[in-house]
């Protein structure tokens, strides 16, 4: 099963869509949590900084330096930052080496990366005191940043996990329906190939697909019944008429042997009967082939030998009819086929070709390798382009060829045999004459 097939299934697409929606929801949720918590924590830090700044700013001027140093030394863990700078940015007191750039006195809190002034990321606030000095109060925010990156990491990883789990679930969920679909498809192909006894697989208790399959099966029952009735009627007619006709033919034959009979008349009537019998033979053979369904004798058939045998079988007939039969076949050409049936098809083509070529005519039987084709060409009158499709149907014969008994009928047997093989039969103009091509490797996908 290819991935491409998988991605085309609706289950897979639905699973993928659900996965994406869920991932989106989850990412939004985490994003919100991240944003809210980050804002809350930052606010708290800012609040503390403002409070501390206010407290220090209210201190009497002489006290300020001492208080700052005291506060800075109390924060021995160096999480608190205090700094007092002159208006021209020289340090007066505190644990901040220099006034960090980008800090506006009276402005909003600013976050700075680790720098010479303070070796950790910090959030700082600055205020200008009445005497013109600048008071800087800050906090080490590396914990806050760690927390932010933990939340961001959780967000990314959980998003990725949700998407990949969704994808995996999509594949896992799509496989069984795809396999079922394959089974349904295989059954349908068998039915299309002529096996009307085949049914779609169903399970009990079934889902909507089983209900549908059951409906199709019911439809197939009906189709099979009707086909059976039609076929049965045709076969009964052929069978019932064939027996008395065979008897009548035998009686005519005996009659023609008796002295005093009019041989010319009898021969004509016998020929007519032969024609009718030939039609029945074709009809019944096609019924048989259609009932055949699957090819049990299917094997990698040796076409080279088959073509040689067919030429060997028909050589004397061609000679007797004044037709020169030539054949060619490269050795070792094979195709998946039922050799007995394919031989019958080639025989019918040769039989027709010899009949149509007529005395002085020529018939060529050729096996071609790559693409594998069996080609029978004759120098007969050919078949008009407009009638080529029709001659492959049961019983159709071109009007002007009615003089030749049984000619052309074999083509419908050939068509039936090749349908079983899924080979293609093409009738082409050989100018003059007919070229019948059995294409043993028709383009795949034509029927699948």
């Amino acid at each position: 099963m290819r991935l491409r097939d998988l991605t085309r299934t609706s289950t897979f697409r639905l699973s993928l869509l659900y996965g994406l929606i869920f991932a989106f929801g989850l990412v939004s949720l985490l994003g919100l949590v991240y944003a809210r918590s980050a804002i809350y924590l930052t606010h708290r830090v800012d609040g503390i900084l403002a409070t501390e700044t206010d407290a220090l700013a209210r201190a009497p001027p002489g006290e300020l330096e001492r208080r700052i140093d005291e506060a800075a030394s109390l924060g021995g863990d160096r999480t608190s930052i205090f700094g007092l700078f002159t208006a021209d940015r020289r340090r007066i007191a505190g644990n901040l080496a220099a006034e960090p750039p980008g800090l506006t006195p009276g402005g909003p809190a600013v976050e700075t990366p680790p720098s010479r002034a303070f070796p950790a990321p910090a959030r700082l606030i600055a205020r200008r005191l009445p005497q013109g000095e600048v008071l800087v109060v800050g906090r080490d925010v590396s914990q806050l940043q760690e927390m932010r990156s933990i939340i961001a990491g959780a967000l990314i990883w959980s998003g990725a996990a949700v998407i990949s789990i969704g994808l995996a679930c999509g594949i896992a969920l799509s496989l069984p329906p795809l396999r079922r679909l394959r089974r349904l498809q295989a059954a349908c192909e068998d039915i299309a190939a002529g096996d009307l006894t085949r049914r779609l697989p169903t399970r009990t208790p079934g889902d909507e697909l089983d209900t549908f399959a059951a409906t199709v099966n019911y439809m197939l029952d009906e189709v099979e019944r009707l086909m059976g009735e039609v076929k049965g009627a045709a076969e009964t007619i052929a069978h019932d008429l064939r027996t008395p006709l065979t008897r009548a033919r035998a009686q005519l034959h005996r009659l023609s042997q008796t002295p005093g009979a009019a041989p010319g008349e009898l021969v004509r009537v016998t020929a007519e009967l032969d024609d009718v019998l030939e039609r029945f033979r074709v009809l019944m053979r096609i019924s048989e082939l259609e009932a055949h369904g699957r090819l049990s004798g299917f094997t990698q058939a040796d076409l080279s030998g088959l073509v040689a045998d067919a030429a060997d079988l028909y050589q004397p007939l061609a000679e007797a009819g004044g037709v020169s039969l030539a054949w060619s076949a490269p050795a070792g050409v094979t195709a998946p086929a039922d050799p007995k049936l394919l031989f019958e098809a080639v025989s019918n083509l040769l039989d027709n070709a010899i009949k149509f070529a007529g005395p002085g005519g020529r018939v060529d039987l050729a096996l071609e390798d790559g693409p594998v084709q069996i080609v029978v060409t004759d120098t007969g009158p050919g078949i008009p382009a407009t009638e080529r499709a029709a001659v492959l149907q049961r019983f159709y014969r071109i009007e002007r060829d009615r003089v030749k008994p049984g000619s052309g009928l074999g083509l419908s047997i050939v068509a039936a045999i090749l349908r079983l093989h899924r080979f293609e039969l093409r009738l082409e103009d050989a100018a003059p004459g007919l070229r019948a091509v059995i294409d043993c490797a028709p383009p795949t996908g034509a029927r699948t």
Binding site: H239, H253, R281, S296, D312, P316, K340, K355, G406
Partner: protein
């Protein structure tokens, strides 16, 4: 079973030796009558059994020279009857008669122990010809040479001679001659020849077999000797001593 019937060679002879008894196991009364009439006309003594169980009992209990067996029977299927018959040790030649003409059906029929297989509808002559061949075809085929009159076929050296004259034969012609000579005196239908020599089971339709036999015939009956090939009009061919 009963060996008496195998000795006769043709329809005419059969009547002098005593009628060969043939059991017809066939459920369709019309077909049964048809086969029985045809066999009576051919000089056999037919008896009809309309269902599988009864037919099997009779086939095992009475000495029949051959049996024609319908492939599809009510109660016990034709194939089952045949298998039971062979399991019980009966070696009576069995001609399967069936509406199923597929190669598969034929192969299963022959594998189950049938001697030949004829597809309905059939010409009476076809049935008779096949029955006569299976009535004779009982011995092992281990000959090194077959001879009919002055025509000799050497199966080891793969060559044919007529009155000392060597006849060049193509492989198919050799097979055809061998089949006809093995069944010398028997009329072989075109379809029987096609099935046996070419091993295909469709109806070749045209006079395909006629031209093959004709070509062989011209080679064999070319000399001054009396003709060995005989045409049975409307049925087929026969090789026979003059």
């Amino acid at each position: 079973m009963g060996g008496g019937g195998w000795a006769f060679r043709s329809i005419g002879e059969a009547q002098t030796v005593g009628l060969a008894r043939i059991l017809i196991i066939e459920d369709d009364p019309e077909t049964a009558t048809e086969i029985a009439d045809c066999l009576s006309a051919g000089g056999f003594s037919p008896e009809v059994s309309a269902d599988g169980d009864e037919g099997l009992a009779r086939a095992l209990g009475e000495p029949f020279d051959a049996i024609t067996l319908d492939r599809m029977l009510p109660g016990r299927d034709g194939l089952e009857v045949l298998r039971a018959l062979r399991q019980a040790g009966s070696e009576a030649p069995v001609l399967m008669v069936s509406a199923l003409g597929d190669v598969d059906d034929r192969v299963t029929g022959l594998r189950a122990g049938g001697d030949d297989y004829v597809v309905k509808p059939f010409a009476p002559a076809e049935l008779l010809a096949r029955l006569e061949v299976i009535l004779r075809r009982r011995g092992p085929r281990e000959d090194l040479k077959i001879a009919v009159s002055d025509l000799e076929l050497d199966l080891v050296r793969r060559e044919a001679r007529r009155g000392g004259r060597r006849i060049e034969l193509l492989p198919t012609e050799f097979k055809l001659l061998e089949y006809m000579m093995r069944n010398a005196g028997q009329t072989l239908s075109r379809r029987m020849i096609f099935e046996e020599v070419w091993e295909y089971y469709f109806d070749p339709g045209t006079n395909l077999i006629d031209v093959h036999v004709g070509r062989l015939r011209r080679k064999i009956d070319a000399g001054d000797g009396p003709p060995l090939f005989h045409t049975e009009r409307g049925i087929g061919y026969r090789i026979d001593a003059p």
